[in-house]
């Protein structure tokens, strides 16, 4: 697959502090890269650098083959960017604003009109296209911001926390929109919301204090879930000693009179044996839930391990 955005060794220094250190980013065509990190980890700094709003102290960025520093105009033509606060002009209507944005990106005449019409339809802005941006709700403003980023059909779309400050319904709509955008463009999505990454992204990069602590596919992140357990509810619960004899079980946690949690090693899940034993012993199984480390746990673990490691240095 073609690599559309490639950043090497990206660093940014503010005075003596390194806000971002040696980040490598590669995005292929049709991919959504989730850029995840707690607040203040350097997400927005990185997004600003990738979009050419901020010059990195070191490193290079290539967008669809064009170097962002030696050939900024060609590179920026391939780029759509939605900063953390959408760059809107409140005194313009949605349609006027999008026309101007398309014109800024070099569209003219008929192709300009079709591009704006298309993006208005895709972002669901048809009903509000003649209203002033200043009067729109936050959700519609955010959509206008996204429309602005994709109106010129760039190769790479960079979205900086696109769902922050929205209500749940709006978040869902924006997520659907992002997924749709990814059909045609490569997307870099910065966020501090984990489920969002889980729902949308193909690749994940986690950064903490300006450093990458994880960079791989979403599946690889899921495989990092090590601790497995079964949450079992039985009306006729046998004593813990009996359950402990099941192969693979490493620990038992009594949750209530009828509920236990069985911990086991990932390689040998005791589910089959447990079911067989439950039928034989008439334990009256009510509920069997497979539990895993949540993404959140992995996230915290990655960030904490990095902090600890640095503490030892």
């Amino acid at each position: 697959m073609t690599i559309l955005l490639e950043a090497r060794n990206l660093s940014r220094q503010y005075g003596a502090t390194m806000a971002v250190q040696q980040i490598d980013i590669t995005v292929k065509r049709g991919e959504i890269l989730g850029f995840l990190g707690p607040n203040g980890a350097g997400k927005s700094t990185t997004m600003n650098m990738l979009s050419g709003n901020l010059a990195p102290s070191y490193g290079e960025i290539r967008i669809n083959g064009f170097d962002l520093f030696s050939d900024p105009e060609s590179a920026k033509a391939q780029l759509g960017y939605l900063p953390e606060s959408p760059p809107l002009y409140r005194e313009l209507t949605v349609s006027e604003y999008l026309h101007h944005c398309a014109r800024l990106n070099g569209l003219r005449g008929k192709s300009l009109k079709t591009a704006v019409d298309l993006v208005v339809e895709r972002c669901g802005l048809g009903d509000v296209s003649r209203r002033l941006i200043g009067q729109l709700s936050k959700g519609y403003q955010q959509r206008t911001g996204i429309a602005q980023a994709i109106v010129h059909r760039p190769a790479v779309v960079i979205l900086d926390e696109p769902t922050s400050a929205l209500d749940p319904v709006q978040i869902r709509q924006i997520r659907e929109l992002i997924r749709e955008i990814a059909n045609e463009h490569s997307v870099i999505l910065s966020t501090h919301i984990l489920p969002e990454v889980d729902m949308l992204c193909d690749q994940v990069q986690i950064i903490s204090k300006g450093k990458v602590v994880f960079a791989d596919s979403l599946e690889a992140l899921h495989q990092k879930r090590r601790n497995n357990s079964l949450n079992v509810t039985m009306l006729n619960l046998p004593p813990a000693e009996v359950l402990a004899t099941l192969p693979g079980v490493t620990a038992i946690e009594q949750l209530s009179a009828q509920q236990v949690r069985l911990h086991y090693l990932a390689e040998n899940a005791p589910t089959q044996q447990l079911l067989a034993a439950a039928v034989n012993g008439q334990w009256q199984l009510q509920e069997l839930i497979h539990e895993q480390d949540s993404l959140e746990d992995i996230f915290m673990e990655l960030i904490n391990s990095e902090t600890q490691r640095r503490g030892k240095d």
Binding site: S51, S74, Y81, P87, E91, L92, L104
Partner: protein, 249 residues
């Protein structure tokens, strides 16, 4: 460049602010115009007895344009403060920075938009002296020299205002700083005007007023023209540099 100018002009003319400004400035200037006219009519009888007395152009139009220059000195900072300070405060500058445009195109585009706005103001202004054509003979050459002077003056004001707007994120600070700078450049030769005639003083040379006054009286010196062109270019170039530098901090 033109698309930036178009965007900026659209934003300017869509806001009530621009129209209110145009209307109020026009009101002030027409009041001044009428009072100059009134005064001229009063003393016209005595004037006609003096040979070589100043005519309508010197008595009404030149003072009017002089007043207009002062009013514009007050108004321009409030328009140019929007250029970059407001954009940075609304964080909308990234829209322009991400577009495939160079800093030079952004700055020149905005500059042209503001110039076009003030040109509208000047067109409204010039209607008043032209109205005198109905009843008096006016010196059209002197009028056009004066208008050229006013246009150059505004070009200089705008360039300086835009540069200062790029220095801060607070529009009001930009406006006040621009006003102070322009006012200083306006009065800078007050102290030197009493010095010996013929002695060139560099402070006096910096004065905007000193380069505007000859144009008002109908004298177009290439030195004054080059001063204004130099003044504008320096500030525009500094704004471009400043915009480029913004990416580094």
């Amino acid at each position: 460049m033109w698309c930036i100018a178009r965007l900026e002009a659209a934003r300017l003319f869509l806001s009530a602010f621009a129209w209110i400004m145009l209307a109020l400035v026009q009101f002030l200037l027409s009041y001044l115009f009428l009072s100059h006219l009134d005064y001229f009519v009063q003393i016209q009888g005595q004037m006609s007895a003096i040979p070589g007395a100043p005519g309508v152009t010197e008595m009404i139009i030149a003072p009017l344009l002089n007043n207009a220059a002062l009013i514009l000195l007050l108004i321009v900072p409030f328009i140019t403060m929007r250029a970059f300070a407001e954009e940075r405060r609304n964080q909308s500058l990234s829209l322009l920075m991400t577009a495939p445009l160079s800093a030079g195109q952004i700055v020149l585009g905005k500059y042209l938009a503001y110039l076009s706005f003030f040109t509208v103001q000047l067109l409204l202004l010039v209607l008043m002296p032209l109205a005198l054509l109905a009843g008096a003979a006016i010196d059209l050459y002197q009028l056009s020299a004066g208008m050229l002077g006013l246009l150059l003056l505004i070009a200089a004001f705008t360039a300086a205002g835009m540069f200062i707007s790029s220095l801060t994120t607070q529009p009001i600070i930009a406006a006040v700083m621009t006003f102070c700078l322009l006012f200083l450049l306006w009065i800078i030769d007050f102290t030197t005007s009493s010095s010996v005639v013929g002695q060139t003083n560099w402070l006096g040379w910096l004065s905007l007023l000193g380069h505007f006054q000859p144009l008002l009286s109908g004298q177009i010196h290439s030195m004054d023209l080059s001063f204004f062109i130099l003044f504008c270019s320096v500030f525009i170039l500094m704004t471009v540099r400043r915009l480029d530098a913004m990416r580094f901090n």
